[in-house]
Symmetry: C2
Subunit: 398 residues, 2 copies
């Protein structure tokens, strides 16, 4: 048996060597490295490259002109190469606590950092991410607190006529307390997103674990649907296979998602231990998901007592004839006559949807409808949507 044991030790050595193959073509460098003072160093081993640039949302934005007008893109910083072929850049200032995204650009080619396995996809764009703790982003970091379960679950929609996938969060203790029923929060993504967006880009399930553990948020079930009603699931998760995503195929603001929404609620109430009444249901969404939340909540005014519009697209394109979008003011009058517990609007000063939201607030003000309003800096970005979620959650079911 001794010989076999020795053979096995060699084998494990071999395994480790095979693992090193991952680095076969790239020198192992640490990137990103979060330094003790919260500056961050990026590195890339690329001795043959002529120019390496880092671009990310921690750098000052650049303004670009296009035929449609001016718009902002993430800033860039040029990296410098040492004598060993390692390019590096260290942020000149410490970064404040946040979940940041970046890419590297090597001779004009945008790539992911080969040294960083932590990446998040947004439509067709995959960015590398890192997290600076010590402030706001502490809510976005996994802590050793009781964790809820996160499930990918399929339901059939008779209205849409297909099987569809959603993400369901059940709070810690759900399984251990089989007689307890929970309120439900429906959390909707924006254009280009899917049923993975809020848990990945939004860190929603981590935020929920942390804020429920601290006692700031009520234990609740959170349902993250796929708002692209023509589609089964996120890219690669449906029966159309590995089709590269693009935003045009994902858009869904034709009324079908809103119309079918009671089927989602029925599925959740039928399969989870919910408190199945208006007082224990919330709905919120970002951008297109805010549009969905706005229209669903007024179309079904007895369904949700808590409504959140995060950087919401509000007013429908007039070319969309769905009855969901008609008689807007009449439906709002019915909805507000039933005194929703919370109607919440949040938007950034730089958001391209700011004026739409201003118009909505003006309408609500004129009618005397009560709502809460949060205005932040920045625009139509996930940083804001994590902030809005963190602000919204403690207000629910109280």
């Amino acid at each position: 048996m001794r010989k076999l044991a020795i053979a096995f030790s060699l084998a494990i050595g071999c395994l480790a060597m095979n693992a090193q193959q991952a680095l076969w073509h790239s020198r192992a460098v640490a990137s990103p490295e979060i330094n003790a003072d919260n500056t961050v160093t990026f590195r890339l081993f690329a001795p043959q490259a002529g120019e390496v640039v880092v671009t990310g949302d921690f750098l000052p934005q650049q303004t670009v002109s296009a035929p449609q007008g001016e718009f902002k893109i993430p800033g860039t910083a040029t990296m410098t190469m040492d004598s060993l072929g390692v390019w590096s850049f260290t942020t000149p200032e410490p970064l404040s606590s946040e979940l940041y995204s970046y890419n590297l650009i090597v001779d004009g080619l945008k790539i992911n950092d080969p040294s960083n396995v932590f990446r998040i996809r947004d439509i067709s764009s995959i960015t590398d991410v890192f997290l600076i703790p010590g402030g706001r982003a502490d809510n976005y970091a996994v802590h050793d607190v009781p964790h809820g379960s996160v499930s990918k679950v399929w339901y059939y929609s008779p209205t849409i006529g297909i099987n569809r996938r959603m993400t369901i969060y059940t709070p810690a203790g759900y399984e251990q307390n089989p007689d307890r029923c929970y309120p439900v929060f429906y959390l909707l993504h924006g254009a280009g997103g899917d049923e993975n967006a809020w848990s990945e880009l939004g860190r929603a399930t981590v935020i929920l674990d942390n804020m429920i553990a601290s006692g700031d948020v009520e234990p609740m079930i959170v349902v993250m649907t796929n708002g692209n009603s023509g589609r089964q699931a996120a890219p690669g998760e449906g029966s159309d296979g590995f089709v590269q995503p693009n935003i045009s195929m994902l858009r869904s603001m034709n009324g079908s998602f809103e119309t079918h929404f009671p089927e989602v609620v029925e599925f959740v109430d039928g399969n989870y231990r919910t408190i199945a009444d208006k007082e224990h249901r919330a709905i919120a969404g970002l951008s297109m998901g805010g549009f969905h939340s706005f229209h669903i909540s007024k179309q079904f005014p007895d369904m949700f007592d808590f409504i959140g519009l995060f950087s919401a697209a509000i007013f429908p394109n007039e070319s969309e004839k769905s009855p969901i979008y008609s008689d807007l003011e009449t439906k709002l009058a019915v909805q507000f006559s039933k005194n929703p517990n919370l109607y919440y609007i949040a938007i950034g000063k730089d958001d391209f949807l700011y004026q739409q939201n201003e118009a909505l607030r003006k309408l609500l003000d004129e009618k005397g409808y009560t709502y809460e309003y949060l205005e932040t800096s920045d625009g139509h970005i996930w940083r804001n949507w994590r902030i809005y979620l963190t602000d919204f959650l403690p207000k629910l079911f109280k």
Copy 2:
């Protein structure tokens, strides 16, 4: 309201434009493109690059010499650039049906294909993937069949003293049949893997959906644990944060995982509708997970009636003194005296653990213990483990 509608149409145009930012630094090319004859074309827009190479498991392997001996690495093929700066390579022959992995190498720098969002991480290596249908890989593709739920669930281990994460698959119909109880299959990963490995690299949950839908496999609960007993969860999912993975920190063959395993079974039986007896429990694993399955199943001989060793590491390193690894032959005698329904061994001819498995079979043969054996081509690779899983599943609980 007309003005607002127009503003909204513009806004959506702007959204689309923002989405295009993802491609800001790279020309939109289709890659990989699976051609009608199942050849595959790879493309990269990189006009400044001097050499671009594709490397992947569909190319003939190369043999490399190292101080430890010769070993094989994936083959490479040089791409050629057209006058527009687009590099391309088309496989000379159609590819057979399989899930393939690849990377691009630009002037020596190994990168992910910027045009492909479909990627899988294995330890610190992230490869791009694509799927050729029409044969074996049809089982690895999502089809429009009833889907099970896939959940990330946490349990507390008193033995290890930490909260730990696992992946649990419940078959389609589990929620809709609240009186039905199911058999349970525990499916363990290899060194460097985690609770995500079988569902991602192994396509296990897709395979289960397909094979249960076709009637070849019994509906069952499948539990995919994290076999690295010092760790809570996969990289980025535990409270140590975004720590880059490496294989040395993940290894766990010191007996603690095996010792704590009854706590996993107890958790699953306590929280799911299981048939909680030996006749309705299976365990299998690959490499280190085969090692775990081997030792757990003989240590707890009344727990599992179906045992699968896929490319298994078998014999413990003698430096490990855990009582789990002692009295091997005595424990095997007890286990086989209880006539397990299925003892299954599978390995590839080129596997570096082939001799160990040969020694185990010799031992079983000498003792007259019955087992099933599958020998395939190739070595210690996920392609084989998907094949073994597909072969093993229909034998369970029958």
